[in-house]
Structures are given as C-alpha cells and as structure tokens.
Amino acid sequence: MLVIFGVTGDLSTKKLMPAVYDLANRGLLPPGFALVGFARREWADQDFAHVVHTAVKEHARTPFREEVWQQLSEGIRFVPGEIGDDQAVSRLAQTILDLDEARGTGGNHAFYLSIPPGLFQTVVDQLRSHGLAEQHPGRWSRVVIEKPFGHDLASARELNRIVLSVFPSSSVFRIDHYLGKETVQNIMAVRFANELFEPVWNNSFVDHVQITMAEDIGIGGRAGYFDGIGIARDVIQNHLLQLLALTAMEEPNSFEASQLRAEKQKVLDAARPPKRMDLHTARGRYAGGWAGGEKVRGYLEEDRIPPDSRTETYAAIRVDIDNRRWAGVPFYLRTGKRLARRVTEIALGFKRAPHLPFGQTDTEELGYNAIVLRIQPDEGVTLRFGAKVPGTQMEIRDVNMDFGYGEAFTESSPEAYERLILDVLLGDPPLFPQHEEVELSWEILDPVLDYWASLPEQPEPYEPGSWGPKSADLMLARDGFTWRRP
C-alpha cells in the first residue's frame, strides 16, 4: 500500500500517479495494491480517483487500458485533513486498516512524504502515535522522503534524527529520481562491464570532468518551495554529487547495496569544496526576456518572490577529489534553471595528444576527446574524437559517435519513479542514498553556501535561454577550460 502525504502537489500528479499506473500496466504491482492520498482538500474518494485518472491519462508512458484502471481504482482512497489534526490522522489510520482487510495488503505500508521538510517532525510523530510506524515481523512499514534532505549539514542531521527515531535506517528511502534513471545504472554498466573505458578513467588521461544538469524552465509554481533554498541545495547537494560519486568511485566488489554505498561514501569523503571560493564558484539568477520562442519572466518577477530575494537559480562549483585516481582533475558541477536546453550529462574531457604530427592549420578545429554520458533527455553515450574531413586536404575536425539507449533497446525504459516505487515496495535500496552520503554531500556544499551568504551582492543576472552568467565562464577560463555546449 502506498500512502502519499501532500498528494495534491505537482510531483504527485505528474510523476507518482502515472508511475503507479505504469507499474500496474506492466503487471508489476501486487493485485491488492492500494493508493491512499492525504491532503488538505475537501475531496471524496471519487474526486481523488478522478484526479488520478486525469493524471494517468495525461502523463502515463504506457497506453491507457480500462481494465488496468479498474484494478487500480478499486484501491484508491482519499483522506482529507491537516497533518497536525489527530482526528484526521485517526481517520487515515482507520482507512489504512480497512484497506488492509479489504485488499489483503498484509499490513505492508509505504509512506511517501511529498511535503516540505518542516512538516516531517509532525508527520513522523503522528505516524508513531497512531501505530503506523511499528515494525512487525513478516510485514513492513517504510517511509519515503524526497529531496531536499535538509538545507545544510545541521538540518540534514536533524532530519535524519527525526526520521531515524521512528523508522530503522533500512526502512528509510531517500528518493532521488535521478538515481532511478536507467542511464545512471548504465554509468555503472559502462564503467565496470567494459575493458575499454576503465583504463583511461583516471588522471593520467582525463584532464577535467563537467557534470551538468540544466533545465529550460523557470521555477514555475514552486516559488514557496524554491525561494530561500536555491538551486545549489536543490540540485547540487543530491543529484550532482551523486552523479559525481558514481562517476568517480572505485569499482564496488558487487552491486549489493552495502558495497555500492561503501564506494560512494569513500569518494564523497575524498571530495572537497574549492579552496578559493571567489575563483571556483559562480552563481546567477535568470533575468526576464525571450527563451525558446516564448517571452518569460525574470526570477524576481515570478509570482510570490520577494523583491529582495537573494536566491540563486544557477550554481557552478569546482570540486576536487583527493585520491590517487583523481588528484589534479577538477570536477565542475553546474546547474541552472531557464538555461538553453533541458539536459543532464557527465562529460569527461581528455588531455590533448602529446604530439600532433600535422600542420598547425590542419588541427585548428580539433578540440579534445571526450566521453559524454548523457542522462537525459536523449539517453546514451557520446564519444568525441578527431577525424579527417573528406576531401583532398588533410583537415581534422571533431566528430561525435553517439550511442542512444532509446534506439539500441526497443523496450521503452521505465520512468525513474516506476523503478523507485518498485524498489520501495520490494525493499531493495541500492540506488537510495543513506544518511551518511547525505551528510557527506552537505559537508562539501556547506562552505560554498556560507561563502555565498557572506557576499554583499545579489546573484549575477543571466539572459534566459542562455548558458548561464559570465562569472561561470570565467571560472573555467581561469583553469584553461571552457564549458561544453551540451
């Protein structure tokens, strides 16, 4: 049984509900599966079922089938109320109990907290006092929490303390939907299933790494959540540092959760923030203008953003990893909203050939070799190298050899949330970061956030639909690199 707190949110309708349907459609949900929504709305079960229905029709990736919907809709319930309200939670507990009886869910519950972290304490307390968090042999009770896992190290520790006071560590699932992506798992496949890449995956050959997560949209309706948090907390702390860990970690002994986690922790422990914050960090905030053929508002003109907001919508930092494999190789992490294109990728830039036996003008257009792991939207791997331009002259330029997962395997790859929900139901946690990883990530990001908070000036404005502020370009130029145009 999946119980969603804060079920009226965007994420819930766009991702969770469709993912549940897709799982059902693929035949991966147990027959008695039930979905319970809890939120501050005066809805009856049918109203909620209607919301789910619309969400599924609009956002599900698999075709709509009436019989699957029939199966699913039987188990849909809605409980209106405030989370602080004991009566409402009692009603919720009763609904869950009834469903256990009616649907034979066997007392297995997953609580999905799609709510601001400020409410965690209340929810967790309520779950405990109504006996919903109890662990019994033969059945499980799990809690799923979403980013942000705190807003700095101290709050992350506090959050962990709250959740761990009620649920054992193995029952806490920190959802990071990026880690459910097929391609993230493919990073491991590319690295560790092949002999071709691993020998050059180190500082003898790689001279820098760029990890990018760009969005072409603004903050939309998320002002309340986003303002004051900023993109570094929202994206770098979890997604980008997790991608960094997967890219830079040593080979785990096996893909068991504990082994994988041990390697990720080790590399995050070796990673450190830049020594010179002024040289190796950059932040920005999108201005208004035209992007992607549409007129868009600047961050400060978005609804419910205070005019004196200092929240950044673009962040770039340099991270160094102090170990034998990566010493001297800067990892540049960048993320932003309202950038030119929605894209997430990891690009390893290689050193130049030590000697080029060609004329200087022949290789003028030759850049550096690169392996690019594309995470979204066009998932795959790109290999970039120099090749001769057809013709009588010796002219060398870069070519891209692209491998697209979407083309190679015809099965539509499951959406990240499907994978994650399934893992929660199965209790299989290798992709989920444990609290140690979360805390290590904050240790890297905290000094940067402190530095930014100490600056008198506002984040640098950047043109919407561009690739970010000038200071970010300068940051790489100082080290002799340039950002890829992903």
């Binding site: 007129k295 002259q393 330029r397 891209n400 992903p486």
Partner: protein, 315 residues
C-alpha cells in the same frame, strides 16, 4: 519523415527530434555541425535543396530560419529526418515578436558542442556583426552576388569583416586561383601587368583582382565583358601572356608562353558545391581576410590618388 509543429516552442522541437530519431531507429548518428540558414520564403526552396545536398558530405543539423514581421508572436516548425539527408533538417518559421528574438529559439536547438555555421543565401542583416544569430556562429557565409547591388554589398562586408566571415563570391574563385597558382608554378616569370575580365557587377572578379594585386604586387586592370561571370584573366610576362579565358562559363582555355593552348573544364558551380566546399574548413579563412583588406586598401589608394589628381587639375 516530416512532422509539422504549429504554435510550438524550442523544447517541443527538441523533443520531437529525439522522438523521431528513436522511432526511425536510425543507428549511431554522427553529425558534425549545425548549419543555420536565414532566408525569406522566396529563397527558401533553393536554400533547402542546397543544404540537403551539402548535408550529405557534412552530416548536419540544418536549421532553416524564415522570419516574417507581424503583430502576433508565432513559431511553427517542420522537422524532417531521413528525407534525403543523413542529418536533420528543421524549418523554423517565426513571426511577430518572436522573429525579433530568433536566437532564443535557435540556441536550444544547436547540436551539442560542435561548430555552428550561418549562411544567408540572400539578404544579409544590416548590422551583421551585431546580429544575434550571427553571434551563435563561428563561421558566417554570405553571398554578395545575390544582393541587389553586389559590388556595394561586397565592400560593406569587407569593411565589417571579422574572422570567420566568408563570401561565396570568394568560394567561386577556388578553381581559378588553383589554376593561376599552378600556371605560375609552371612558368615562374615576373608578372608585369594583370587584367581581369568579367561581366558587369561581378564581385568575384573584384576579389580576384584584389587577390592578384596583393600576391603579385602589380596593379590590376578590370575589364568589362559580356560574361557569363568571370571570363578571362591575363598576366603579362616578358615572353607573352599567361591567360585563362572562359567565354562560355563551362570550358576554359589555358595558355602559358611557349606551350600549346590547353582546355580546362571550369564550370560555374552551383550553391551546393560552394556550400560543401566552405563547410570543409571551419577555421577563419586567412587568405580571404587578406584579400578583402587588399580590396579596400587598393580602392582607398586609387580614390585618394584620383582625388589628388582632381585637386591638382583644379589648382
């Protein structure tokens, strides 16, 4: 496959490109550059054709931008994949306020981390160097011959030259230049005089004259003929002329003193061939830069000379 998108956005176009490529099941793609073509409706068919053929030699993402004024903002696109070219072709029509911000539409569609080339087959924006689409590109191609007043257009482009510029009237000269250089290799005599003959208003002939002047350090005579295009180049030596004459635009005769006259195929080339040639080298064309400089310098010195002459006669 051709898909039409009406009232669309850049991100929808990108998504469509990915979707079509997946559904067509094309194997590893290997595009090397993005070619932006800015034209109006009348130039569109020939530009599309030329770019598709050039795309065979240089697999590219080709973005054809057609803008029109208007009051309402509008953005329509036509995505073509697997239509006679190994790359991707997107025809983008913008009108109204969107057309005033074309870079906002095009930037998200550039092929990742690869060169960008822009080509104006016809009309070129007045402030070319400040144009926002031009700023996205590392190579900018114009065609003075397609302008209503070719010679003025050529000079305007020469004046605001920045590295990465090329004019197709220069590309048209490549076979001529190769032939002239070969002639001088074969017969390395001192050149005393040069004349270049072409029909009226031929920018290529002006460029060839400027190139010869800068290379040979002699003054070059320009003569007007009936065409088509460039009809003859004669370089005078003590023993007679080195001459290439092409009266019909197809076959040239090639004469070097003391050697029999020979025929050389020197057909006037179409857009496709010119475009393919230009796309082979994406670094700035240094020789072209020197030539346009020589074109302007030569005229500055002659005009100041003639002004001096006028002044002296008046005196």
């Amino acid at each position: 496959m051709i898909v039409n998108l009406e009232g669309t956005t850049s991100s929808k176009i990108s998504a469509e490109l990915v979707r079509i490529r997946h559904s067509v099941g094309s194997p590893a793609q290997s595009m090397v550059l993005t070619l932006i073509i800015v034209c109006d409706e009348s130039e569109f068919p020939s530009a599309l054709q030329a770019s598709i053929v050039a795309g065979r030699e240089h697999p590219s993402r080709i973005l054809l931008v057609v803008t029109a004024p208007g009051r309402d903002a509008g953005l329509d696109a036509e995505v073509r994949i697997g239509e006679g070219t190994p790359g991707e072709v997107v025809v983008i029509r913008m009108h109204g306020p969107v057309a005033a911000h074309p870079a906002s539409v095009i930037r998200p569609l550039l092929f990742p981390d690869s060169p960008v080339v822009i080509w104006w087959p016809g009309k070129v924006p007045n402030n070319r160097t400040g144009d926002e689409l031009a700023k996205l590109a590392m190579r900018r191609m114009t065609d003075a011959a397609a302008a209503p007043r070719p010679l003025t257009a050529l000079r305007a482009r020469a004046r605001d030259y920045i590295p990465g510029d090329t004019d197709l009237s220069w590309t048209r000269l490549t076979p001529w230049r190769a032939l002239l250089a070969a002639a001088l290799d074969q017969y390395p005599a001192k050149i005393r005089s040069v004349s270049v003959e072409s029909e009226r208003n031929n920018p290529s002939a002006d460029l060839l004259a400027a190139w010869l002047r800068s290379k040979l350090k002699v003054s070059v005579n320009r003569r007007v003929s009936d065409g088509p295009g460039l009809t003859a180049v004669r370089m005078g030596t003590a023993a007679g002329d080195i001459a290439i004459t092409r009266p019909d635009g197809l076959l040239a005769s090639y004469t070097v003193p003391g050697q029999p006259e020979r025929l050389v195929a020197l057909k006037r080339r179409n857009f496709t061939e010119l475009l393919s040639e230009e796309l082979r080298r994406l670094d700035p064309d240094v020789i072209y830069e020197r030539t346009v400089k020589s074109l302007l310098d030569g005229e500055r010195s002659t005009s100041s000379k003639s002004r001096a002459k006028k002044a002296s006669t008046r005196a």
